[in-house]
Amino acid sequence: MALKGNLREFSFIQLLNLINLAKKTGALYVEGPSEISKVIFREGKIAYAVIGQDTSNLLQILVNASLINPTQEALLQERYKNSSDKEKGIYLINSGYLNQEQIFSGIEVYLTEIIRQLFTWSEGFFRFETGELTPDEKIPARLNLENLIIEGARKLHEMEELREEIPSLEMALKFTDRPGMNIRNVNLSVEEWRVVSYVNPKNTIQQIARATKLNDLEIRKVVYALLQAGLVELIRPGGAPIALSGRRLATKDPAEQKSLVNRLIDRIRSI
């Protein structure tokens, strides 16, 4: 079980993509040039994240998200200075300050900021430890990754990298049929929506670019973001039926072709 490497070659956004699609549970450690970060995932969603030492405090997080005001914070801080985030959360709910959803939304704002910071890391060893969970005293969030991945992918500018991801604009796109995926829950830009509206096995990326008046670089960026978020996949245009050209095998007779492949199979079995 080795899920490790260097961000230089396998980017943070690619990692998020992998964890999201594989619905992994565990901790992703990245050793940056000056700090170590740790992000905990639960079934592909972010539960917890920290860069360096964890000095975060639920009340501070909620003030930053404008869910409580500084006066309330000072008061609660004093009263609950020895309590864990989890205990504070329970108190806030029981005493009617906030509901559970509000607390989660505050934590998600905070986690999103940390992940945005990690997007800027272009170097550092990473490793994934399967199974590791959120520290007991913290409230585990369930932050969806799709929006973050799209946001991160928009930042990728380098044409060369985009060319490698999408070598040919003659390929077409189709929606992935991943269970539990609903494109309406994803925050797409206007440009991205325009491209999405043309996604169809019959349209090549080139044709979509023309229809949406996007240049090579722009269309590659949009397609890349959609690919990374697992919303679409590349296919041959027209879902072109796979045809055996006469050149591959001398004979055009299906029975003879099959017999030839069967002879190859027998031969290789005997090696």
Partner: protein, 181 residues
């Protein structure tokens, strides 16, 4: 009757194990166009394939299978299209121990798919190494649809290479059976 030849192409990034795979099953010494590596950057091994590798498996008097290995280094990719012409199918070798090459592997896969609509199989090579990524993680990293054949591989082991070749051939048969020809 004239001897018929068919061809399977083995492709993948630099150092993935393409030459090794062909060497494991070819009945002739692999006709290799390997060259000593001089550039420091690529000096993780001593030699690399610069034009192609070439292996052979004779079925009988009138049928011969050729295995062609493409050069892994990008600057030789002008060879790819020529090599892929008329192939029966292809194998994409992945170095499971080097995630930094996955992006390129996917790009190579897409390029070959665009050359010819033939069946293919992806071989997650070097599964005997401690650092090897698991096959299912590689599937996700390469964004391979569950329907695409992705198998663990140890190119140094003949039995493993046999499995890869057989699975590719089964895929070719299935495609013929599905009446798409």
């Amino acid at each position: 009757m004239q001897t018929q030849t068919v061809k399977i192409v083995v492709t993948g990034p630099f150092n993935a194990g393409k030459t090794e795979l062909i060497r494991s099953v070819s009945e002739i010494d692999v006709v290799s166009t390997e060259k000593k590596i001089t550039s420091e950057a690529e000096k993780i091994k001593n030699s690399t394939t610069v034009a192609m590798d070439f292996g052979r498996i004779t079925v009988d008097d009138d049928l011969v299978l050729f295995l062609f290995g493409t050069p892994g280094q990008k600057r030789f990719d002008f060879m790819w299209e020529i090599l892929s012409e008329g192939m029966l199918g292809f194998i994409v070798m992945i170095d499971s121990t080097r995630p930094e090459t996955f992006r390129e592997a996917r790009s190579i896969l897409e390029t070959f798919r665009a050359y010819a609509p033939t069946p293919y199989i992806v071989a997650a090579n070097k599964q005997d190494c401690q650092d090897a990524w698991e096959v299912e993680d590689i599937r996700v990293a390469l964004r391979l649809d569950p329907s695409i054949k992705l198998l663990p591989c140890i190119a140094k082991k003949k039995s493993s290479v046999k499995t890869i070749l057989l699975e590719l051939l089964y895929g070719i048969l299935e495609e013929m059976d599905s009446g798409k020809s």
